[in-house]
Amino acid sequence: MSLPVRDFYRSMADRVGKNLADQDLGNKILVQVGSATCEHAAGSQAVAEEFVRHIRASGRKDIIIHRTGCTGRCSREPILGVQLPGQIPVKYERVNRDLVHRIFIEHIQGGTPIMKHVLDHSTEVMPEREFLFCEGSRCQRPGGESLRDRFNAMLAARGIEPHQVHVAAASCFGVCSLAGGAPATYVLARPEKVLYRITREEDLADLLAIHVAEGRVVERLRVLEEPIALEFLERYGDVAFFNRQSRIALRNAGVVDPDSLDEYVGFDGFKALAAVLERGEPEWVVNEMTKARLRGRGGGGFLTGTKWGFARKQADTTRFIICNGDEGDPGAFMDRSMLESDPFNIVEGMIIGGFAIGAQKGFFYIRAEYPLAIRRIQHAIDTCRANGLLGTDIMGSGFDFDLEIRLGAGAFVCGEETALIRSIEGERGQPKVRPPYPTDRGLWGHPTVINNVETFANVSAIVRFSGDWYARIGTEKSGGTKVFALAGKVRHTGLVEVPLGTSLSRIVNDIGGGVSGGKQLKAIQTGGPAGGFIPASMQDMEVDFEPLQKAGSIMGSGGMIVLSEDDCMVDIAKFYMAFSQEESCGKCTPCREGTTRILEILERITQGKGVLEDLDKLHRLSRLCQRTSLCGLGRAAPNPVLSSIKHFRAEYLAHIQDKHCPAKKCVALIRYEINAEKCIGCTICDRNCPVECITGARKEAHVIDQAACIKCGNCFDVCKFAAIDRV
């Protein structure tokens, strides 16, 4: 309807397109360096500087350093990407300055990737081609997984080696519902970046005959719709950790330069906003969100469309929208990553949200411990304002809206929406009784919508590809994908975005690579400090709000900690309880006093001073917190205790009755003994004992004085002959 918006967007996109074309990136060597907080900490800045020196020294003009955000592959940072024209991009892990030198000489100048340092490298040679077969865990594909097996077999029959053409399984591309028609298997061919739609075995034959053999695109099978994360898959598709993910919220993370509006627009940024403003129907946006079944990603899981609808219906027309970036769960960093890696996307989501609910002003509430995120968001806001995307008459549509950042001072409770509102108002950050909900009376008494960073990260995608498309990716009750921060005893830690309904096992084993150190999986803790434990026996459970709650845990903001047989459940429950107790705001009695008493009881149990009644008391206090605390945080705080008692009662009983810690974690319940048969009397334990409680002559078996031992475990760690037993 509104032509000015269309013209505005077109001229912006044209300008960006021209800029990008001028750079002629397609014929240049791109070196990609991450620049989020975690990458900085891992040393990415030094790596980038080293590369700049090399480029300068070589005098080459066709090498471009491209700064991006973080891909979320924490344990392998800094990650460095090298893309030579016409080749599959290569990612190096744990790059340091020496490696930069080698990469520059061998790969960039010599053309041969250094396979040993390639991220999660599985082959000795970089394949020339790669085919990624989609494998959504929840859809009915023709022929199932056999199509991929079949293709492998056909390649083998032709004598094509896996190192020439590599075939891999990928997660859902989200294309089915875009293309319409019957479900099919979609295959992404790299480095051509072509997407094929495969329904029959004959299609595979064409793929082989034309694409593999002749190097031509099979036009008949080609799909023109682009999957949302095409760029991401193009760059990271060769790594199992990445290609098993379905990236929507994180689609640009690690792909775009977070400070470049041009790049964001180049990846269809602000197309959604333009569409929304051009339509000029806020109700339509709310409807799309409702259809998408996008549920609040901050933990509550409330339907975003419903929430926006509530705020829209209010008589009070002064309204606010707030982005909750007060991420405080220990080990969770998806919000930070999104703010740092794709700030324009979050800003776009907020503007769309603001338009949908009729807000005049929005606030980013970001914790002060995220300086880079704050800087990038501020830069994004300033840039948008300078480019007519924020402020008055956005994109010529007549819609006025502006954004401002407010900093959180580091209280966990300020992530609770009413406490957050109070904090923005300048009051002590403490929750308020609900109802009234913020959508009725929020910031300064006006209708206010608060959504999590990740929720906003999905908004532009939903507008662009429709709510129905998004809904189809997830489950019956929850549409789309969810980002998890995978950590703990798992091989690959990092950010994982998968469709809701994906099984825990798939996340932990297929993407995370299973439990580290070859240990047994014991449980998976989800939902941050207020979450619960899912025992290994339930690992095939679908990850979604309701099943998790049923199992005594929560979705929370998406923390996922893998626990192995070496972890003591009582000890871990105590750890989370200590966090909740420490972070209790102190306003309501059950949370303030109850969590303290729960923690005291857990401490007693781990010290071997527990009695059986303590289990009843734990249960009683936990239920009290759940039932009577003022805010959601207090009500969820005892989840780790209740779920660990539910699923691991035997472990509690072992601590209480047998005074024994099965995982040998609780210091008060273990002791170290020297196995006289294995001890050769090397004295290393003696020399490393801080309290000098180990005695024994040289070349004779040593003995630990149990009364003096402080159970630090030094002897156990240093013994080279496994002569020290922890019992």
């Binding site: 102190g586 309501c588 009695t589 006093e593 759940q626």
Partner: protein, 587 residues
Amino acid sequence: MSQMISLKIDGESILVPAGTTVMDAAEKIGIHIPRLCYHPDLSLEGNCRVCVVAVEGFDHGLASCATTAWEGMEVQTNSPMIRQARRDIVELLLDNHPKDCQTCDRDGNCELQNLSYRMGVRERLFEGKRKQFPIDDASASVVRNAEKCILCGRCIRVCGEVQGVFNLSQHGRGFTTVVGPANLGPMDESACIQCGQCVSVCPTAAFLEQDHTERVWKALGYRRTEKHVVVTTAPAIRAALGEAFGLPVGTPVTGKMVTALRRMGFDAIFDVNFSADLTIMEEAHELLKRLEGGGPLPLLTSCSPGWVSFLEKFYPEMIPHMSSCKSPMQMQSTLIKTYYAQQKGLDPKDVYVVSVMPCVAKKFEAARPEHQLDGVPTTDAVITTRELAQMIKSYGIDFQKLPDSDFDHPLGTSSGAGDIFGATGGVMEAALRTAAFKLTGKNLGNLELTEVRGVTGEIRETSVTLAGTTINVAVANGLQNAKVLLDAVKRGEKDYHLIEIMACPGGCICGGGQPYPPIGTYTMNRDLAKARANALYSIDSGKTLRCSHDNPDIQKLYADFLGEPLGPKAHELLHTHYTARTPRGIR
């Protein structure tokens, strides 16, 4: 008028106006939901969680005090789960509270103690560590004992919402949360104006007045040999003291009070009401002088030490407007140590003055250096109504059975105008009675100016035309109201000549030192305030002497000792000055 909604509470259907809380709705059908942090005159926080109820459709309890009922709501107030939860919440509070009930000031009047009994907490299941904080007794008036605090937040709310001072807030978090002034500094260096409303609303003994009873015991112990101990009682004491001895609210007990004091062994028992009359004489003349001399107007009354402190701290630019009159208590003490001592032939140093006050801030006022005579405070001890009641009880005096007796003279004679000082608007009414006489040469026909007889938490204004002069007056109680009034004056929106301000909501009758109302009723309760005020008004209306200027002993005092109102002697003894004391960090 307002829309009605229906809900079900414990299976019983009930119709209530929209906007009613669940707690109030339950009250209507005879269900008293236990409560603790709730206070009817403060905002609703719902933080103690004692009043939780189960609501259909919620898997957690809702605080009934802070939850507005909705159409079709189904509430369970008493399921076994809810009862156990309430009991456990109260135990959790007790577990983090000192176990010294027997020696606690609030023993027998503690809301936590009472609740613990009613909830049936008979054993401790969860006891563990207890929070530890030092007692802050730096303030002359208010003692803060954070260990007894149960974080109900009433003090924070009353300090901000009613008094507009915002001195108190929570610090720290979780288990170590503590209520105190900014940066947890000592109370005497804070913005505290010492009104003691935090003491009034505290359900436990986390806030108390500075105890002066020990001083009084000591003085009484060596009377006759060394000190001449004089006691003098404020207007509002007689309206509330009876409550501490089981008499109905609003029973005036002047005569019994005097008898009790006499039995306690005081050498002379005087009435601050006498000096209330004297204050009126001075203040009315001050007003007339300012009306003639062109200001500065409005004239602000200076009887309430909490208000004086508030002005010095937050409105120092308005100090010239303040009446320079000392408060009645200070006029009285000064006269006892000068006029009375002279008459008796006593060295002022041998006279010990005990003031009984409904006020906590008076302890601070007595300690101000302006109120000294030769380096000795004119008022040696200030005890609150509560402290007096406790002393009477410890004497074993059966208060209810006491005969009436009269104050000693000359400083015990008062007019009805002095009597009504204790209620909001009383000073105004008394001042206008005398101003009218001075302007017109005769007393007002109807002495009762009901327009200024206020209710708790209200601002009242009226105009009186006397001999062609129109006097615009306003009355405020509760310092938040004072703020509203002063800001309006500062903005030039209002053109008043005389403003009466009392720090405490309802005036002195609801001062920070008055007896705690029985558990279940609250300070600032309108009925309570009204009953106490009516006690004072009934004393006034029962008198023939109803105007300060008609008080023969006042007339005699001027003739024999002071000279004339605002004269040099009066100025020296009866007037004071103020100092700007803007708290650090403000403005």
